[in-house]
């Protein structure tokens, strides 16, 4: 009886893990099979044609690239500096705890709420309009918690002896942080940043009212131009327009590009983490 209960229980746990793995593979394989049929060099490098029924997705790829770069330029320094303060400078325990609660709370805010904030502040109040700048700032606030947490972990993992050695040869605290702590923590910070980019590249709701447009013939010229973006392109192809028999295949193609992009970003981050764990000599 006890034995049977155990067998059933452990089986249920295996079923759970299988469910997760199969769900992921089902999405990956289904979208890859359908998507690779329409994927070719032209699809990647051409602009959309004939009211989104033909042509490629080049402007959407470029748009997502610009948005991701902008997001990182904004969020990375803020995130790393916050983490440095939290780990190396903040002495008051209550203060660090309060800041950490804020970080967790910000991480839990729904993505569409960031979109509302971006619309009211960056698009309207600061008058940046619907643009790469507004979108990148909105996404940057959204991924800030990801970068802070990853950087904190990375900085915390730097051995105390490294710092003590640096102080012992007469370096100041700031010199120790910039010359010893930061370089040592860099792989961890990069991993966190890569994960943040993956998140930013795949998000739709925050850029819906702040950065994207359905169709654009020319590539953006400045950070105040609106852009096409891969995730929004999928949504728009599925919900707007009338020629769904032509639009759905393009959506498959776009989905495989986006999924491929985000999955390789995640995969690289996981690899760096595993390698970092193995390579550490201290």
């Amino acid at each position: 009886m006890r034995k049977q209960k155990e067998l059933i229980g452990l089986l249920a746990l295996r079923v759970s893990i299988l469910f997760a793995v199969i769900s992921f593979l089902a999405i990956l394989i289904f979208i890859s099979i359908k998507g690779f049929k329409v994927l070719n060099i032209g699809f990647l490098l051409e602009v959309p044609k004939d009211g989104m029924t033909k042509g490629g997705i080049f402007p959407a790829i470029i748009g997502t690239l610009y948005l991701s770069i902008g997001t990182v330029i904004f969020a990375l320094p803020l995130g790393v500096l916050s983490a440095i303060y939290l780990i190396e400078y903040a002495k008051h325990k209550g203060l660090t705890k309060t800041i950490r609660i804020g970080v967790d709370a910000l991480a839990g805010v729904p993505s569409v709420v960031f979109g509302l904030f971006g619309l009211a502040v960056f698009v309207k109040l600061f008058n940046f309009g619907v643009s790469i700048l507004s979108g990148a700032l909105t996404l940057g606030i959204m991924i800030l918690p990801v970068i802070i947490k990853a950087s904190e972990e990375a900085i915390l993992a730097v051995p105390k002896e490294f710092k003590e050695a640096s102080f012992a040869v007469g370096a100041t605290k700031w010199q120790t942080i910039t010359k010893i702590v930061f370089p040592t923590a860099l792989p961890g910070i990069i991993t966190g940043t890569i994960l943040g980019i993956g998140r930013a590249a795949g998000e739709t709701a925050p850029i819906l009212f702040t950065a994207v447009t359905f169709y654009q013939r020319l590539l953006p010229h400045s950070i105040l131009d609106e852009v096409m973006a891969l995730p929004y392109h999928i949504y728009a192809l599925m919900t707007e327009g009338t020629a769904s028999e032509y639009q759905v295949p393009i959506a498959y193609g776009t989905a495989v590009v986006l999924l491929g992009l985000v999955m390789s970003i995640n995969f690289i981050a996981i690899l760096i983490r595993i390698r970092g764990r193995r390579a550490k000599k201290w």
């Binding site: 034995k3 209960k5 155990e6 229980g9 452990l10 746990l13 295996r14 759970s16 893990i17 469910f19 997760a20 793995v21 769900s23 992921f24 999405i27 289904f30 359908k34 803020l78 500096l81 916050s82 440095i84 303060y85 400078y89 800041i99 609660i101 804020g102 967790d104 709370a105 910000l106 839990g108 805010v109 729904p110 993505s111 569409v112 709420v113 960031f114 979109g115 509302l116 904030f117 619309l119 009211a120 800030l144 918690p145 605290k173 700031w174 998140r199 590249a201 795949g202 739709t204 995730p231 929004y232 999928i234 949504y235 599925m238 498959y252 986006l258 999924l259 970003i265 995640n266 995969f267």
Partner: protein, 282 residues
């Protein structure tokens, strides 16, 4: 010790997350509350009709709240058992090699962009559900629940795994020494010991499901109606904001009403984050 310019600025960077949190709340408040001048707050929240473009318009968000609750509850029915199953499996059963292979799958599942989940739901799951249950339309609360459940699974799994794997080894050994088998040890010793962390995981899973936008926008269907039937279309709060903000004229009642929904969402998710924080502390 003398501090340089950047060192002096560090606390400001660290406090930025709170600045953003307050900024978001302030903006939602400023842009959202004007609706309460024309629609009393009680009627806004408990009104049964959401007809924003009718003449005269009606702004009752009860159907939207019900829509959000339905898909969230549905998602939890999948995410809690499977997520906890994955967490227990990874922490208690899998050996190192298996864990290093399986865990990235769960992380990748978390990394799939929500628009790709929505797309997958639209092209594959919705038609399947329509056929199996003989429905007139496959975009239903049930469809959205299934996909949201898979999306919330990694959140529940990763936080619960942290909690479960931090249960001291001595507790397990004591349990085995008393003659308990592995299943009894898991259900009567390990899980109860990790209880508060598991609650935190579930609460953050709720937050993930209730705040998700693109998936429900694409597959929950169209209609802001109150229905107990999971095989009917519903319209959650997030989807309403994302779908209607583009058409709401700036400064109109509709515009303010959408920000007020954002405020409701924000307060719910912040509340959930703070509750999770309390559980994590224990």
């Amino acid at each position: 010790m003398k501090k340089n310019f950047i060192e002096r600025l560090l606390p400001i960077f660290a406090l930025l997350t709170w600045v953003f949190l307050f900024g978001i709340m302030l903006i939602l408040f400023i842009e959202g509350t004007p609706i309460f001048k024309s629609v009393p707050i009680f009627r806004f929240i408990f009104g049964r009709h959401w007809y924003p473009v009718h003449e005269p318009p009606e702004f009752g968000i009860l159907p939207l709240i019900c829509g959000s609750l339905m898909v969230t509850v549905g998602a939890l029915i999948i995410a809690i058992p499977f997520g906890l199953g994955c967490a227990i499996y990874l922490s208690e059963i899998a050996n190192r090699a298996v864990r290093e292979v399986v865990k990235p799958f769960i992380e990748m599942l978390a990394g799939v962009p929500s628009v790709v989940y929505g797309f997958f739901g639209m092209v594959l799951l919705a038609p399947m559900i329509q056929k199996i249950f003989h429905l007139s339309i496959g975009l239903t609360a049930f469809t959205a629940s299934v996909i949201l459940g898979v999306m919330a699974l990694p959140t529940v799994a990763s936080i619960a795994e942290d909690a479960i794997s931090s249960v001291p080894k001595a507790l397990r050994e004591a349990s085995f020494a008393l003659g308990a088998n592995q299943w009894e040890t898991i259900t009567r010793v390990v899980v109860p010991a990790a209880k508060s962390g598991i609650f935190a995981a579930i609460i953050l899973g709720i937050g993930r499901a209730i705040g998700e936008t693109m998936t429900v926008l694409m597959i929950a269907g169209c209609c802001a109606v109150i229905t107990p039937n999971f095989f009917k279309p519903v319209r959650p709060m997030t989807a309403t904001i994302a779908a209607e903000m583009g058409e709401a004229p700036m400064g109109s009642m509709h515009y303010h009403a959408l920000f007020a929904i954002g405020l409701v969402l924000f307060l719910i998710t912040i509340g959930l984050s703070l509750i999770a924080e309390r559980f994590k502390e224990r």
